[in-house]
Homo-oligomer: 286 residues x 2
């Protein structure tokens, strides 16, 4: 059974209202709670050579990045850890706590268990003011497609460019950026975990419009040949930048570096340089 | 490394404030959010012969029971599922949704992954009014020790008493009971997942007082010889009843069946029939 078939089952049983976004959303008085959970395993999610501290950091970073992508402030983070060896716990928790601290979140507890393969599930709750939560749905044709920073560093590290190792192993959730973008009134947002093109296909799933990227607009990373850099930026995963759309009059976003990389279009397709983009990323090959 | 050593590491790094209770607690305006996460694996947590629907039910029931034990109303439930076979997803989700629906909680999404051993992590968020959250800490000597129903049914099912199979496989979180007990102002509370005696040791961990049980007061389950019934009630796991303490003038609790089984004492020990109780449960032998 492929991922798409599994997703269909999820939508059939629990509906699409809460499953299209990076977080589930729950109105709470004049505020909104957002909540998300992510399961990571040693063999598929933690690149070889990663320290336990980095594994802890990464485990909560993915969750904090989902909260950032909604424009919310993270509050509580919980970790459920299935440990293969008890000796690993201290460093994993220290890394997780450091990442929480850096984002103003509280590592509030969780659950411990024994498991043959190290398995970590981080769950997070964030808060935002009503009307200040940004979803994947909301783009309209003519909106700009933007990113918060150059893409492809994590993929470059995987391909041997060691200068980008920290981008791969200690990704920084774009907390401040997410909140600024929400205040600025962008029309839709998500985080880029599996590559720009795959993320655009996720947006496509939530919107009636389409997305057209001009690869010449992509900010390139240093020290990598431009052609490879563009390939990594389009299809490489592991970056934690935010992808958002906004109407042209909202750009540039106050007090935030961001890059226009394309336009929202009427046709329900993802285009790169006016050709249909293949729906693929790289990172799953780890 | 044993469980106690692991717990010490957790407390050293993230503190004891949030790790003593069934849920982490987070003040939120005039309300309080509670949050909890539980990891379950096929081989250790799901008794042989359990259906996938029951596995889904059980996975969220443990989390909802933790929320009930704080006296809160569950709001959001998230599931992270590491599937060994995609075909299992539908029934697992249907069971999980049925349990959420029965408790007024919303199954709001989660994460899917492939795993060699079926692994499910449910995370839940509940809400309560400020001052209406009950913790494990709070009992004072002279308080009554009470339970919300007869104990030992799940253990009896494990020992072959098939009439109690549904108690083991489809445990019902004591949602209404938890909220009534919170409104009634009980002094401390938790759910009994690993047996009465082990739960009393958990309370001991959070309080300067001690606990003395009179086994003759334990309500016995039907169809099991009294001696076995008492043994199952004291040391058997898998029941989802609530354990609470309250001052004698608060008993009986309005509109709630509950049973006095002992007294809170000054000495920091757990006694059964005036003898020190062994710190053990049964359920881990599954």
């Amino acid at each position: 059974m492929d991922e798409r078939a599994l997703k269909e089952i999820v939508r059939e049983i629990i509906g699409t209202g809460q499953t299209l976004d990076d977080c589930a959303v729950f109105p709470f008085g004049s505020m909104v709670l957002v909540a998300t959970t992510d399961m990571l395993h040693e063999t598929t999610d933690f690149p070889c050579g990663m320290t336990d501290w980095q594994i802890g950091w990464m485990s909560v970073a993915v969750t904090l990045s989902d909260i950032a992508a909604m424009g919310a402030q993270p509050a509580i983070i919980l970790l459920a850890i299935g440990l293969d060896r008890g000796e690993r716990l201290r460093e994993i928790l220290c890394g997780a706590k450091a990442c929480c601290d850096s984002c103003g979140a509280e590592l509030s507890g969780g659950d411990l268990d024994a498991h043959r393969e190290l398995t970590i599930v981080s769950s997070g709750i964030g808060v935002a003011e009503e009307g200040n939560v940004i979803r994947r749905r909301g783009a309209v044709p003519g909106d700009l497609i933007c990113i918060t920073g150059p893409l492809g560093r994590a993929q470059a590290a995987l391909e041997g460019y060691t200068r980008y190792e920290r981008n791969l192993l200690e990704p920084v959730p774009r907390m401040t950026e997410g909140k600024r973008l929400a205040s600025a009134g962008v029309s839709s947002m998500m985080d880029i975990s599996d590559g720009l093109v795959l993320s655009l296909y996720d947006l496509l799933d939530a919107n009636p419009c389409g997305y057209s990227i001009d690869s010449a607009l992509l900010p390139l990373i240093e020290g990598v040949p431009p052609e490879k850099g563009r390939e990594y930026a389009l299809f490489g995963g592991g970056d934690f930048e935010l992808l958002f759309t906004c109407s042209p009059e909202h750009f540039p976003i106050p007090a935030l570096d961001s890059y226009i990389v394309g336009r929202v279009i009427r046709d329900h397709v993802v285009m790169v340089d006016e050709k249909m983009a293949p729906c693929r990323g790289y990172l799953h090959r780890w």
